[in-house]
């Protein structure tokens, strides 16, 4: 694949992703000119680049979609669920073609037929909608109260009219409602007077009238075609308000506004919309400044950019940022050097970047729910060089070899000491090797950083996925993501998709109640699924939370009994908390019926297996009626593994440290024989002993007569077991290489690593080894 094709694949994926998010946002929050325009542009660009790489079928499909979107963009037609479904379907198809193009350099042979069928479907939609121009989504979207972020039109109005609204609320606390009324273009012919309806709104607090599209030239203006949009905020109750608009329900959207949504006086307006906008404007000014241009006009540009940025910051009530920007602007104008202003703008951007996150997180919901990547929406994303992953991995391998080579130096120092008696030399070599170790480790970590990717990479597909799945199940759910900037190794983030997919499907299928049940339980119609990533020490923790029906421990116990997951005694001994975690056991499903969405509960088993393969753990907490949270506790990096080298049967093996809970020396009298097996009591628990030599089919060492015996206590998969070894050698941090070639299928091995003396150490996978 040549560079042009590579660029096309990258760009197409980004555009598909952006357009998908915008389409979902459009469905959920209604349209805005910026949004429809963004979608239109994405399709337009996709069509163009498909033409460049000569994919006529893709051009054909995109062209039809583009026509449809152009009609939406110019408000010729309204947005319908069918239209969004079809355009999303079109993006899916394009995405599959892009994958095929990447793999084979061409699209499948049947692409032409598919493209024609799709174009026909899209055009049919255009014809259908055109006949009934005002079929809007609005009557199906109103959510009361809105779950998640407020639509942009509300936050804009609230921001502008904050003072008068809060004054009213202080005098007379009440519920707040926002109304968006988009009269049909032919409403004047129906005898409607939209303004009269607005005047009838009881307890009006704020109103704004705007054009839904750009005003045409006056000569082309049709005075009897209504292109206005009315937005208002009022107090009181919903029924009175709905009564005003009872004749135009399809043109109006009523949303309850939580009083907390009102920006507080003095405090920065923590609505994501405003802050994102301010940040976008400030970043734009930065671009203006750095754009190449004549030195002569720098003064003008700096003045304009500085003033614009300062005004934007004041608009966001960030006066403490506006002042330094103005100061720096004067310096820059005086010295004809952009440095001062640039650094002030950078400071403001950094503050905005850091400030939006915690503020948004503190109220439990982030603004990202609406636009998973707000920074991608209007703000130029930080451009980092694209580096081929293979090159990073090659660097990583080299640095790992360096660490191994360093181990060899330590080995040499020991030999110098023991064999030659050169103690001073040995010490000096050891000291130097410590320096090398520090540098090698730092370098290794720096390279590992290159492999870090944000959790957003795996979260980004979920809004779409949840939308489609929920629709199929006839449920309502939205995804809120938190901490998507948290980074972890790309392998871990990449492999998380499957377990998260199973978890989210399970939540939608089993966790979230039907709308009727939710209403009966007093819960909002739209269920919220939270995807949260966070760092805890060197762990990368991902949680999937829902506020659905929760898991009933009794039901789990019953199922576990039926499926014979555990014996009756074991079950009785388990606490409720441990019991619900049984759903991760193989062959378990709490669903009464097997459904298409989440299958037979194999999903939960897959979740556990995948996470454990990555060196992580799964746990679950749940309260009946309140909801469930599944926690995936993963390492941030998978490259380094801490192992313990042990001897057994005359050989040396590595055992991963994360499995070992303690090492115990046992006098023979502590060991009991139970039915031919050995065991001992450790803190009131009977721990069976297995000999590692036996497990590996090696001859047992002869001296296990009367001397003390050494065991490693391991806890794995909920079981506790002691492994007897002959000796413990070193504890090492190693880079584990997977078993290769003929050995790649051998059970019981986690991988191999090179020791300092050049020997290969086999690292065991204890779980697979145990009977």
């Amino acid at each position: 694949m040549n560079a042009l094709h590579e660029q096309f694949v990258l760009e197409a994926r980004e555009l598909i992703h952006e357009a998908t998010n915008d389409l979902i946002g459009m469905e959920r929050e209604g349209t805005s000119p910026e949004r429809t325009n963004r979608i239109f542009r994405a399709f337009h660009t996709l069509k163009g680049s498909a033409g460049v790489v000569e994919l006529p079928s893709m051009v054909l499909a995109m062209h039809a979609a583009e026509d449809l979107l152009a009609a939406v963009n110019t408000r010729k037609i309204g947005v319908t669920a069918a239209m969004i479904d079809q355009t999303l379907g079109c993006l899916d198809q394009i995405s599959r073609w892009v994958d095929a193009f990447e793999m084979h350099g061409s699209v499948p042979a049947d692409a032409g037929e598919h493209a024609e069928a799709m174009a026909r479907r899209l055009r049919a939609l255009l014809a259908n909608i055109a006949e009934s121009p005002s079929v809007g989504l609005d009557h199906q979207t109103p959510a009361t109260p809105v779950a998640g972020p407020l639509p942009e039109w509300i936050s804009r109005l609230l921001g502008a009219e904050r003072q008068s609204i809060s004054r009213h609320l202080q005098q007379q606390p009440s519920m707040l409602f926002a109304v968006s009324y988009e009269p049909r273009t032919d409403c004047f012919f129906q005898g409607d007077d939209p303004l009269a309806l607005m005047q009838a709104i009881p307890n009006l607090l704020a109103i704004r009238i705007e054009a839904r599209e750009a005003w045409p030239a006056l000569a082309d203006f049709d005075p009897y075609s209504c292109i206005l949009r009315f937005v208002a905020v009022c107090a009181g109750n919903r029924d009175d308000l709905a009564d005003v608009f009872r004749l135009v329900p399809d043109q109006v959207q009523i949303v309850e506004v939580p009083v907390e949504a009102l920006p507080r006086q003095g405090a920065p307006a923590f609505d994501g919309g405003t802050l994102d906008l301010v940040r976008a404007i400030v970043e734009e000014q930065r671009l203006v400044l750095t754009a190449s241009g004549e030195r002569d006009d720098l003064t003008g540009r700096a003045g304009a950019a500085g003033r614009t940025a300062a005004n934007a910051l004041r608009h966001g009530r960030l006066h403490h940022l506006a002042e330094p920007v103005e100061g720096a602007m004067e310096t820059t104008v005086a010295s004809v050097d952009v440095a001062a202003l640039l650094s002030a703008l950078d400071g403001a951007v950094a503050f905005l970047a850091s400030d939006t996150e915690p503020a948004a997180a503190s109220d439990g919901r982030t603004v990202r729910a609406a636009e998973p990547e707000a920074e991608a929406a209007g703000i130029s994303p930080s451009r980092s060089p694209r580096v081929n992953e293979d090159r990073i991995d090659a660097l990583l391998n080299l640095s790992a070899e360096l660490i191994v080579a360093k181990n060899a130096v330590v080995h040499l120092a020991r030999r110098a000491d023991e064999e030659l008696g050169a103690h001073d030399l040995a010490r000096a070599v050891k000291r130097e090797s410590e320096t090398i170790e520090r540098l090698a480790t730092e370098m290794h970590e720096a390279i590992l950083q290159l492999r870090l990717v944000p959790a957003a990479q795996v979260f980004r597909s979920f809004p779409r996925l949840v939308r489609d799945t929920a629709q199929r199940l006839d449920k309502k759910a939205t995804v809120v993501t938190q901490g998507e900037t948290t980074e972890a190794d790309k392998t871990i983030v990449g492999r998380l998709f499957e377990p998260l997919l199973h978890l989210v499907r399970n939540v939608l299928d089993h966790g979230i109640e039907s709308s009727a049940e939710r209403r009966a339980a007093g819960k909002p119609d739209i269920a919220t699924i939270t995807l949260r990533a966070s760092r805890e020490g060197d762990r990368f923790v991902v949680e999937v939370g829902d506020e659905g029906r929760g898991i009933d421990p009794e039901a789990v116990r019953r199922k576990a009994r039926e499926r014979k997951i555990l014996t009756e005694e074991d079950l009785a001994a388990l606490s409720d908390e441990h019991t619900i975690n049984l759903i991760f056991a193989a062959g378990f499903s709490t669903a009464t019926e097997i459904s298409e969405i989440s299958g037979r509960g194999v999903g939960m088993d897959v979740v556990r297996t995948t996470v454990e393969q990555l060196g992580g753990r799964v746990s679950l907490t749940s309260r009946v009626g309140v909801g469930t949270t599944v926690r995936l506790d993963l390492p941030m990096n998978i490259a380094m593994t801490r192992i313990m080298a042990v001897e057994a049967g005359g050989q040396v093996f590595g055992i991963p440290m994360d499995a070992v809970t303690e090492t115990v020396r046992l006098r023979p009298d502590r060991i009991n024989r139970i039915k031919g097996n050995e065991g001992f009591v450790l803190r009131d628990r009977v721990v069976p002993i297995c000999s590692l030599a036996d497990l590996m089919n090696l001859p047992a060492s002869p001296n296990s007569g009367g001397a003390t015996r050494l065991v490693l206590v391991l806890e794995t998969g909920g079981k506790i077991v002691a492994i007897e070894v002959d000796a413990i050698r070193d504890r090492l941090e190693v880079v584990l290489k997977p078993m290769q070639g003929l050995l790649s299928n051998a059970r019981g091995y986690a991988g191999t690593t090179l020791l300092g003396d050049g020997k290969v150490l086999l690292v065991l996978d204890i779980k697979e080894l145990l009977p």
Partner: protein, 76 residues
């Protein structure tokens, strides 16, 4: 018709301005771009008339005679 042009060229809106006033108002504004609009005597504005004012954005003489418009749309 409640829309007319005064001798000094100012376009005057008086009393109730119904939907039919939108077209004549637009024609007057097209004929004399930049003409003033006096709406002090206008007691009620129909949406269509308001829309023409929004689209043409002519300079206005006096506060609007429609109390609701005066109160809620002061920036108009």
């Amino acid at each position: 018709v409640s829309v007319r042009r005064r001798e000094d060229g100012t376009i005057v809106l008086a009393d109730r301005c119904p939907v039919e006033d939108a077209e004549p108002l637009l024609q007057l504004l097209l004929a004399t771009p930049g003409a003033w609009v006096d709406w002090e005597q206008c007691t009620h504005l129909h949406t269509a008339v308001l829309q023409v004012i929004l689209a043409a954005h002519p300079p206005r003489r006096g506060p609007c005679g429609d109390a609701w418009v005066r109160e809620w749309l002061p920036a108009l």
